[in-house]
Symmetry: C2
Subunit: 336 residues, 2 copies
DNA sequence: CATATATGTTAAATCGTTTTAGCAAGCGTG
DNA sequence: CACGCTTGCTAAAACGATTTAACATATATG
């Protein structure tokens, strides 16, 4: 631990005031409006001394006494996924605006790890949690929420739980891009999805089915469910899809999209001439990789901003009368 | 912050002993060998009570008094890169073995952000730092190391700095895979690299040059340096490479490999028939994407294990006589 | 002028733990 | 039996901040 060496006491002595006063000045500086009344010139003097001595408040001591760490914990499902990496970045920026920091954890879509990570974060003393649930994490989330920790769910919901959340309108988004594939001439669209039981995946499948149903009874549907992180089945799946006369794919995530598209290229086909493709999430590789692709651009910055607003509102409303639960559903933007 | 509510005091009262004793029992439990002498049955009783009351030590208070957080800070250059994502995971596991936790930050290859992130970590009170330097981060690292914080560099070195590090033998690895391309019949090999000034990138370029030089004067070299995160130049580069009769590519990272390979496929060519490809780092997409690819598999688990060993050794040797600086160079494994 | 109110400041308690210094009992030794 | 050494335990002082309660002084109010 870095020895901060210069403490509030040193400043007090140097400026000829009490430590209390120094503390007042410091916390007034951090928060917006002055809560404590401090003489203007005294405040200036204290701040000058603090500056000169390069005072850095000791967050640990602060946390111990005040019970607030000004840190919120974030658990995403896979930090290596560009979608979540971007969310992580944006959350960090948002938190900064409120004078907060963020600590991350990754569940790797594993409910046990999810629980462990949440425990570690709580033990480190975060003021609130922003969680991306994974399949099987319901109990852990219920427990945390039940114990009164301020929590907001992100990207995925857990039905039947009294907790705020920010998600995309996945069903509508899926419907729109599927519809778009049809408009561009696709006759036989497969959806490639995950077998994980996660709200957003299920919603996307529904949207796909909605669109095909609307199109008419002559259109067939097929949802291929891939097991997370075991992608060897893709080549054989692609072969079967081709044999069934599939001419377009709708993918539930950017990872799936890349996998299927690389399979398409590997077999010597082109996008969008041979196969049309639609999917969720942007990926930096699209730019150069698949110019003709249709994708749902999730408003990641809004995800982060809304989630942070919700958690801040909850944190700032004392333990007494809490701010009400809010479930925010964001509208998708479609590209391509 | 989660109210842990039940404290050492409660246990002391319940068990009829002093808080000191409870503290002794608790910390003996955590560390390996008993440092304090405590009666065996008393210890058992205290632990029973602690268990029954579901005591969770308050890390904040611990940190404040002891000056140790049992947390080490890690700054990688891009958490969204699978290579670093895996390193992050492995570091977490390693730390766990020592009873430590890990907090992450990402510099996004930006030296200002690097400095900010390091400051935040130090301010949170980490006991040590594991850093992946980025171009321009030298000053920040020098400052941190100079101020006595235990530090280990990972994946990239900063020449002329007294600090432990764990890196791959990048030059040798690059030489070997370039050689392998030649052995498989490549006559004109381009290297695609980053323009960033980073030790490992420079070393890889040297290895490439070494191999071509060894091959004989009739072989030409070309190093194409791409600016990080601006990949629009790749199509035009690929065109020019094709015109120059290039028949193989050696890429400095997995990201570059994917970009160039997708360009190859997009133009209707195949790997390895039309172009042979070698690169650094594994990527999950390779499996399905480029079976014929040659790549350097970096021993990520060893990176993590060695780095954690080094930082632990430094942390545990008190501020008095520090363990000596160690620069560990790991051997690459070649696949394909 | 007396009383109330606002303003500027501080002493001391507190957060939950670790750590220092030391006490008391038991035991072997010469 | 007196001495030192070990064993088992504790009181009290940190750690560095925040927060409570209160004390002056100045200003306003009736």
């Amino acid at each position: 631990m870095a020895k901060s060496s210069v403490t509030i006491k040193d400043i007090a002595k140097e400026a000829g005031v009490s430590t209390t006063l120094v503390s007042f000045v410091m916390s007034n500086q951090v928060a917006g409006e002055p809560v404590y009344r401090v003489g203007e010139d005294t405040a200036r003097r204290v701040m000058e001394v603090a500056e000169r001595l390069q005072y850095k408040p000791n967050n640990t001591a602060r946390a111990l006494r005040s019970g607030k760490t000004l840190t919120i914990g974030v658990v995403v499902s896979d930090i290596a996924n560009p979608f979540f990496a971007e969310i992580a970045r944006d959350l960090e920026d948002q938190a900064y605006k409120y004078g907060y920091n963020v600590i991350f954890g990754s569940s790797d879509e594993n409910p046990e790890k999810f629980g462990r990570v949440v425990d570690v974060l709580l033990n480190k003393g975060v003021d609130g949690l922003i969680l991306v649930p994974c399949a099987g994490s319901e109990d852990a989330i219920r427990k945390v929420v039940g114990s009164g920790v301020d929590t907001v769910l992100l990207d995925r919901e857990v039905p039947g739980l009294q907790v705020s959340s920010v998600v995309l309108d996945n069903r509508e988004a899926a419907r729109v891009i599927t519809r778009k594939l049809l408009d561009r001439g696709a006759r036989r669209i497969d959806m490639v999805s995950y077998s994980m039981n996660i709200s957003n995946t299920r919603d996307r499948e529904q949207g796909y089915l909605d669109a095909i149903k609307e199109a008419g009874p002559e259109f067939e549907t097929h949802i291929e469910r891939i097991t997370h992180n075991s992608y060897d089945s893709i080549p054989s799946y692609f072969r079967s899809a081709r044999e069934r006369g599939v001419d377009a794919f709708m993918m539930a995530t950017n990872t799936l999209a890349l996998l299927v598209m690389s399979e398409i290229y590997k077999n010597g086909y082109h996008i969008p001439d041979d196969f049309k493709v639609a999917c969720f999430d942007r990926n930096p590789l699209y730019d150069i990789y698949a110019p003709g692709i249709i994708f749902v651009r999730q408003p990641v910055d809004s995800f982060a901003a809304r989630a942070m607003e919700l958690i801040m509102a909850r944190i700032r409303s004392g333990p007494g009368r809490k701010v009400p639960i809010e479930q925010i559903v964001l509208s998708p933007e479609i590209s391509g």
